[in-house]
């Protein structure tokens, strides 16, 4: 009897310990972000100033949008290696359209339409190849990235497209609503929309099931082709929204805007804990990962770390978080 009571107490402690571990695991990214912030603050107190924190928030909203876009396809065991160049293509297309139509309100509306059309087109092409024909997403989107970059450099001639309407850049990049900067608001809106989509719609749940087990998805009667096509379209559309935000910030259409974005977006998702084998993770993880990476690079910039050293650190962080996350998924 007393023996049984002993095990009950022991298992009660074990449960408490286990649930404490679970909470700790869930909070590990916020904790990591805080540790990084405070660590840098020891060397450079300006890092925790209100101005800089606001700055970090704005900077991370761009990366967060791209990481969320990438997450939608990673959930299905996919990848979008054409994300960065899609951002470049959207950026120059928007600028060309807005400049061509004279920078009026009408021109801005046409530009926004063009951005979404480009995102839609790239997403459809990727989705039809991956979901329709069934080719490996890595190589499909790799091939697509060559094609998209050719378009981006051809229509812009390889040069930045300047002369964007001031209203567009001011509204999207520098305004704020009730003290919240517009880029942060837009990232929040994207988050809310995707969060709802993933958690509360049939489509969202299908993404998780396809990623977790494609055969189970077939058995459950999920038609993979339309779901995958839609996933790639959503990914590219969200990337187009991010491209609009970035274009407004730089104030010109840049054919090289997407440069490292693909990898940074994947890195942010991975660091946040989105599982590369599909089926686990969410846009919240992507946002956290984006904030962590931005906090790190902001801190390194402020303590004047060499840009190339930062590149080394980013690689090390990715490998470190892969190891940490692997242990979690093993459980």
């Amino acid at each position: 009897m007393s023996n049984d009571g002993g095990t009950a107490v022991a298992s009660g402690q074990a449960v408490r310990l286990a649930s404490a571990m679970v909470v700790l695991r869930m909070l590990r990214l916020p904790i990591a972000i805080l540790v990084v912030l405070l660590g840098f603050a020891l060397f450079e107190p300006r890092i925790v100033s209100t101005g800089n924190l606001r700055n970090v928030l704005i900077q991370s909203s761009y990366l967060a949008v791209f990481a969320m876009a990438q997450t939608v396809v990673i959930l299905t065991r996919g990848f979008d290696l054409s994300l960065g160049v899609t951002v470049s293509l959207v950026s120059v297309t928007v600028a060309i359209v807005m400049v061509h139509y004279g920078g009026t309100g009408m021109a801005v509306a046409l530009g926004l339409g063009a951005a979404l059309a480009v995102g839609m087109a790239v997403g459809l092409a990727n989705g039809l190849l991956v979901g329709g024909i069934g080719i490996n997403p890595l190589v499909t989107t790799l091939g697509m990235s060559y094609i998209v970059v050719a378009f981006a450099t051809t229509i812009s001639g390889g040069f930045p497209v300047t002369g964007l309407p001031g209203g567009f850049t001011a509204t999207l990049a520098r305004s704020s609503v009730l003290g919240v900067p517009t880029p942060v608001l837009m990232a929040g809106a994207v988050f809310a929309a995707l969060f709802f989509m993933l958690r509360a719609t049939r489509f969202g749940r299908s993404l998780f099931i396809i990623g977790a087990n494609p055969r189970a998805a077939d058995a459950a009667g999920i038609r993979r082709t339309p779901v995958l096509v839609a996933a790639y379209v959503v990914c590219s559309l969200v990337a187009a929204v991010g491209a609009l935000m970035l274009t407004a910030r730089t104030g010109s259409g840049e054919p090289t805007m997407g440069g490292n974005l693909t990898l940074e977006a994947i890195a942010a998702a991975v660091v946040g804990g989105v599982r590369l084998a599909g089926g686990e993770g969410g846009v919240g993880a992507a946002v956290m990962g984006a904030v962590l990476i931005t906090v790190l690079s902001n801190g390194m910039n402020l303590v004047q770390t060499d840009g190339y050293i930062q590149q080394i650190v980013l690689g090390a962080i990715i490998i470190g978080s892969l190891i940490v996350n692997r242990d979690e998924f093993r459980r």
């Binding site: 190589v139 499909t140 091939g143 060559y146 890195a267 590149q311 490998i319 190891i323």
Partner: protein, 335 residues
């Protein structure tokens, strides 16, 4: 164990046969050569042929490295970074040795080769250890390592070319001729031959196929799967580093930005050469032919002065078309 998954099912005879994995690349290559030679006679000019064969060697060696990794079921996105890092190390080591022992060019070249290839194999060792013993995604590991290696190369050079390599290194290897052809061509062909022998006749070659087709089955049948994976990544790192060493002899200086798109080009060569993205299938001779095909296409577009932007578009289309054909054929064979 055969590289081919199964004997081909009866299908539409000629077209089907021409599009089989092994023959598809030959078909593509012959078409590309014939069309280019007809459209642009300068294509067959000996100078151009030499140029083309040199570019072929510079793509074939890293493509073989990529093939080894893909055959084992992975990806190596650090190929380009290792090539660049090796170029920097080659030049730095060589100029350091020459400063310490002026005139000892042969020794400097050999030491540089050893240090560069050793460093490349060390990167491969890290990649392989993380993939094989930590069970991490090869794609992400090599991507992260590419970032690390490029960061180191750029930090030490700050993006500035490293001069001071041996004159004979440039004259004999980079610009030299063996029997009238660029030396790198013979090195590349030697490596392809070596790999053909390895994949057919050695235990390691068979183990790589086994590990790539089904890791668990390989393990259960007593194959040292982890060690095989590790060896694959080390060999790939060494071959990439050799490419960087050879490119340095051609350029005449060590540069950290010589191979920014090489990882993607090698994947393209492998895919066109019929290496399966699921692992377990791939032959060195087919990959070499695919590399030659890609080089011919890009040479043809250069000769006919097609805009370089349009060239990337063609490369993307070729990649996607080759994949679609492979996939549709595979599906037909399975059903």
């Amino acid at each position: 164990m055969s590289a081919r998954a199964a004997p081909s099912a009866p299908g539409p005879a000629l077209l089907g046969r021409l599009l089989q994995p092994g023959l598809m690349v030959v078909t593509f290559l012959v078409l590309a050569v014939v069309i280019t030679a007809m459209v642009e006679p300068r294509f067959l000019n000996p100078l151009n042929i030499n140029n083309l064969l040199r570019n072929f060697a510079f793509l074939a060696i890293p493509a073989i490295a990529q093939m080894l990794v893909m055959k084992s079921g992975g990806f190596d996105l650090s190929v380009g970074a290792v090539v660049a890092g090796s170029s920097v190390i080659t030049a730095m080591t060589m100029s350091a040795v020459l400063q310490a022992y002026p005139g000892m060019e042969g020794m400097a070249i050999l030491i540089a080769l050893g240090v560069a290839v050793g460093a490349g194999m060390a990167v491969g060792l890290v990649n392989g250890a993380l993939v094989a013993y930590q069970d991490l995604s090869p794609f992400m590991v090599t991507l992260a390592m590419a970032s690390v290696v490029m960061g180191i190369a750029l930090y030490y050079t700050q993006g500035i070319p490293v001069y001071g390599v041996a004159d004979s290194f440039i004259a004999e290897i980079g610009r030299g001729r063996w029997f009238g052809y660029p030396p790198v061509l013979f090195i590349a062909l030697g490596i392809v031959a070596l790999l053909v022998v390895m994949q057919r006749f050695t235990r390691l070659g068979r183990h790589i196929y086994a590990v790539g087709s089904d890791l668990r089955a390989a393990r259960l049948s007593g194959i040292p799967a982890r060690r095989t994976l590790l060896k694959v990544y080390v060999m790939a790192g060494g071959l990439s580093a050799l490419t960087g060493f050879l490119m340095t002899s051609r350029i005449g200086s060590g540069q950290a930005n010589i191979a920014s798109t090489l990882a993607l080009e090698t994947i393209a060569a492998c895919v066109i050469g019929g290496v399966s993205l699921r692992g377990g299938v791939g032959r060195a001779e087919h990959v070499a032919l695919a590399a030659l095909f890609l080089v011919v296409v890009s040479n043809a577009m250069n000769l006919t002065q097609i805009d370089s932007r349009f060239q990337t578009l063609v490369l993307g289309m070729v990649l996607i078309i080759a994949l679609s054909i492979e996939h549709l054929l595979l599906r037909r064979r399975l059903t």
